[in-house]
């Protein structure tokens, strides 16, 4: 039996329904315009020459032969970026961050990962540009690379940045290091907590570098107006991020850069960094023509931002009845070539599902010769959950305790204090655990070469800035403008919230995603924030519209605004029953009573949505080959309120499947020279349709007190539990604990052989 359930207690007119998304027809007919579909007249194609070495000093670059190739219009190196001519003195405090940002875009003195851009070409077509790449001569002094997070932390490891000193809890270290940051949080008394425990388990876990795996490669088109305004058309999760980054690197005021976000073919956090835009902008300036770039799949793997590999040590103490008394973890994640892995989020989220009095978490952000990591859906938390939820499974086995009952006993609730201090408001973890426990899947029998695993997960879901403008057209349809790029259906969900607030039909709201000149600052589509924060902005703007409509009615009826109310899409006089106008009828009168009505709002909501999820996975493992198949999967998640349940289910299912891939097959293989050996979809193995069952879902709705409809955000927590759920299932099926991701058939066979099974 497969199913999708929504456990809803509050019914609305538009919110909670499943209308067809407004951009849907264009997407199923091939008309939707994604970044690479941009086609300005006279566009040149750009290609980026990238370092073949994972670690090297760049001695000099000779581009003359490439420039002479017929069809080539311009060749650039880091020297062509404005940053190269500016000194440490001129930039002061910004120097490090700007130098890192600019060097990441195009290497100046050192190549720090295989695939690091060192030059770029604009030519009449991509084939000529590719031929020109072979004609650029680069003199490298090859250096020893390091591509393992723990090796990079050792004394004597090859150093990436001579200037980098460890920021150790706020204190700056004295010698150069690959450890960029060490951070720690603690609560209670750790020693006392472990002393009280009847059982203490401590294990180590590792995970490999993985990629978000969006099907659309990075792309951009750049073109300057003759007045010096730069235009960019790109597939991005954050048009304002791109604007800001490009403006910084090119030393332009932000208002001089206009970014038009095209439709985007997946992001998951990986399309926030602007890899190609500054390069194409400089090429466009040099050639006077529009310049377009599209990464190849190999470039996407080697030179965009994967998620970090990790090493984690977890220690948990419990009483015999299962009550947790102390938790401890140490986690190191590799940020790639420049600092900034999500290890700090990882340690904060690691134990966020549990109410424990005593705990200590330590995180290490480490650089190594891999591409600089980027966000990947709940960055840091999936790795942490794999470790913690696996160890808890071992504890449950030792105590002979049901894994869901264990989690219910220790579950975080309203009032639970998280390790770094945040106190939870009303949250829905307990509800999710109860739903999972009572679910048909969990109650069904399992035996033989099959195993079942359970895990839970957490993600904060923050707000950040969003802006919305809405205008009431004279025909009563509301044009809704937002800066939030639509990846997963947010045009629909924001329109639904608008329609619900205004009391009008979904079909009477027309949402559009607009460029950075046309709307106020809007943070990325990511962070599980769009439905929440842009929704809040839309609700607020809709309230603004309502009050203006009341004013207009007051004018028409020559009465006081205080005598008028707005109820269910109708503006009416509170006492005189003759005086009422529907939204549409009032809209028709706007032209002659003062003109358009526009509502607007810019929000920056504080407070976290607090997303919780519980996953149940069944697997079958072929004992002769180690081949693992997921045979049944159920995802339970507290959405707060599912504005559009189909798109919430989609997030839950998509996150679960990314997690299944991360658990079983996905990893970057590096050779001794630091090169990724599998930069194609052939050997970077993401789940295919034939690998999976249906992904059943249950949406729990424990309303978020911080949002009028209760929205919490849903996109990210969906990927936090699945690896542990699958790992625990494999363990149940094989009798071997798998503590290293991915859990490949080879590793399962090795575990059997180690444990004496032939």
């Amino acid at each position: 039996m497969t199913s999708n359930q929504v456990l809803s207690e509050v019914e609305y007119d538009v919110v909670g329904k499943r209308p067809v998304r407004p951009d849907g027809v264009d997407k199923v007919t091939g008309r939707a315009q994604y970044g690479d579909d941009t086609n300005l007249t006279g566009t040149l194609r750009a290609k980026v020459l990238r370092s073949p070495h994972a670690h090297a000093r760049i001695k000099f670059i000779d581009t003359s032969k490439a420039e002479a190739l017929p069809g080539v219009r311009a060749v650039i190196t880091a020297k062509d970026l404005p940053f190269a001519s500016l000194s440490k003195e001129e930039l002061g405090g910004e120097y490090t961050s700007l130098k890192f940002a600019s060097d990441h875009m195009m290497a100046s003195d050192k190549a720090l990962f295989k695939g690091h851009p060192v030059a770029a070409i604009a030519a009449v077509n991509a084939h000529v540009a590719e031929s020109a790449m072979a004609l650029i001569e680069v003199d490298y002094e090859v250096l020893k690379p390091v591509v393992d997070v723990r090796e990079a932390m050792q004394d004597g490891a090859p150093l990436l940045h001579e200037d980098l000193r460890t920021n150790d809890m706020g204190e700056t270290g004295e010698k150069p290091s690959n450890v960029a940051t060490h951070m720690s949080y603690s609560i209670g008394d750790l020693d006392k907590g472990f002393a009280e425990a009847d059982l203490v388990l401590e294990k180590e876990y590792t995970t490999s570098t993985v990629h978000q795996g969006y099907i659309e490669p990075h792309n951009t088109t750049a073109f300057w107006n003759s007045d010096g305004q730069l235009n960019l058309w790109t597939s991005t999760q954050g048009s304002f991020q791109v604007r800001g980054t490009v403006a910084s690197i090119l030393r332009l005021p932000v208002s001089q850069v206009k970014v038009t976000p095209m439709e985007i073919g997946g992001g998951f956090g990986g399309k926030i960094t602007a890899y190609l835009d500054a390069i194409c902008a400089v090429l466009s300036k040099k050639t006077g023509a529009p310049v377009k770039a599209l990464m190849t799949r190999t470039e996407v793997f080697e030179a965009s931002g994967p998620a970090p590999a990790s090493w984690m040590r977890v220690k948990i103490g419990v009483k015999n009845n299962g009550k947790m008394t102390a938790v401890e973890t140490e986690m190191a994640m590799d940020a790639g070539a420049y600092p900034g892995s999500p290890v700090m989020q990882a340690i904060v989220c690691a134990f966020a599902c549990y109410d424990v009095e005593n705990g200590k978490v330590d995180g290490y952000d480490v650089v190594d010769n891999k591409p600089k990591t980027a966000a990947y859906r709940a960055p840091g938390a999936p790795q942490a959950a794999f470790a913690v939820e696996s160890l808890i499974d071992e504890i449950c086995a030792e105590l002979n305790m049901d894994p869901i009952e264990f989690r219910l006993l220790n579950a975080a609730k309203e009032g639970t204090r998280r390790i770094e201090g945040l106190v939870a408001r009303r949250i829905g973890l307990v509800e999710c655990l109860e739903v999972a426990r009572d679910h048909d899947h969990y109650k069904s029998k399992i035996d033989g070469p099959n195993g079942r695993g359970v895990a839970c997960g957490y993600w904060p879901n923050r707000g950040f800035q969003s802006s919305v403008v809405m205008t009431v057209n004279y025909d009563g349809v509301v044009s809704l403008l937002m800066g939030s790029v639509d990846i997963g259906g947010t045009r629909a969900s924001i329109a639904q919230q608008t329609a619900e607030t205004l009391g009008i039909g979904y079909e009477d709201v027309k949402p559009t995603v607009v460029d950075t000149d046309s709307i106020g600052y809007t943070f990325i589509t990511g962070g599980s924030r769009t439905c929440f924060a842009t929704g809040l902005a839309a609700i607020s703007a809709a309230e603004d519209v309502k009050s203006q409509m009341i004013s207009r009615a007051a004018k028409i009826w020559d009465t006081n605004e205080d005598d008028i109310e707005y109820v269910a899409g109708v503006v009416q006089h509170k006492s005189d029953e003759e005086l009422k106008l529907t939204f549409k009828d009032l809209a028709r009168q706007l032209a002659t009573t003062g003109g358009s009505v526009s509502g607007r709002a810019s929000v920056d909501p504080s407070g976290e949505g607090n997303g919780y999820a519980v996953h149940i996975a069944d697997v079958t493992v072929d004992p002769d080959t180690g081949k693992t198949d997921v045979t049944r999967f159920t995802a339970v998640q507290d959405a707060g309120k599912a504005i559009h349940p189909s798109y919430v289910e989609g997030q839950m299912q998509g996150g679960a499947v990314q997690g299944i891939g991360w658990a079983l097959n996905e990893e970057y293989f590096f050779d001794d020279s630091g090169k990724m050996m599998n930069p194609t979809f052939l050997d970077y193995r993401m789940p295919i349709s034939l690998d999976l069952p249906m992904i059943d879902t249950v949406i729990v709705e424990v309303a978020n007190p911080g949002h009028p409809y209760g929205v919490r955000g849903v996109g990210e927590v969906a990927i936090v539990p699945p690896m542990a759920a699958v790992g625990n299932a494999v363990s149940a099926a094989t009798g071997n604990r798998m503590r290293s991701l991915p859990i490949t058939p080879g590793k399962i066979l090795e575990a059997d052989w180690e444990n004496g099974k032939s």
Binding site: R18, V20, R21, D23, G24, V25, K27, V28, T29, G30, R31, A32, Q33, Y34, D36, D37, N39, P70, G71, N125, H127, Q212, G213, Y214, I215, E216, P217, E263, I264, G265, G266, G267, F268, L294, T296, R297, I487, G488, G489, H644, S646, Y647, E649, G650, Q653, G654, A656, V657, Q658, T680, F681, L682, M686, P687, I688, S689, L690, L692, M694, I695
Partner: protein
């Protein structure tokens, strides 16, 4: 400069002519020469199916077909899937079942599903998953895609 070849082919029911270099793939021709951007590039090496088209009645990855090989052939792209009367039932089903999130893989999945149901109108879940194994989706986890195809399959 390398020479170009003139190619005549039938595209979405219409006989057309185009010029291309032999090294240009059919994917490149569709997108850059003919301006038909509905067919997408995901990997350019036959591993993701985003560039799926129907060539002489069979689905193929257009990144692995040369433009010059289109001579005399019959090609259907996503732009040719709907009819003047309206959307193809699969397109409608994808919309109703929310079988797309970012939508970049959708043209490939639609053509692949169409080619399956044209041949096997009653394809079941197992057959659908097998047939679609050459199309990668990273957003949906395939669940709603398979349901959308099943809905049309049962309807036949």
């Amino acid at each position: 400069m390398p020479g170009v070849t003139q190619v005549q082919t039938t595209l979405n029911g219409e006989v057309i002519n185009f010029l291309c270099e032999p090294r240009q793939s059919l994917l490149e021709v569709l997108r850059d020469v003919l301006g038909m951007t509905g067919t997408k590039e995901g990997c350019n090496d036959g591993n993701c199916g985003a560039c799926t088209i129907i060539l002489d009645g069979r689905i193929v990855d257009s990144c692995l077909v040369l433009g010059v090989e289109a001579e005399g052939r019959d090609i259907t792209t996503i732009e040719g899937m709907a009819s003047p009367e309206g959307l193809h039932p699969l397109q409608q089903s994808f919309l109703e079942n929310a079988a797309l999130q970012c939508g970049i893989c959708t043209p490939g999945f639609l053509l692949a599903s169409k080619s399956l149901l044209d041949q096997e109108p009653e394809a079941d879940e197992g057959r659908i998953r097998h047939w679609l194994a050459g199309n990668l989706c990273r957003c949906t986890g395939y669940d709603k895609i398979v349901r959308a195809v099943l809905q049309v399959s049962k309807a036949k």
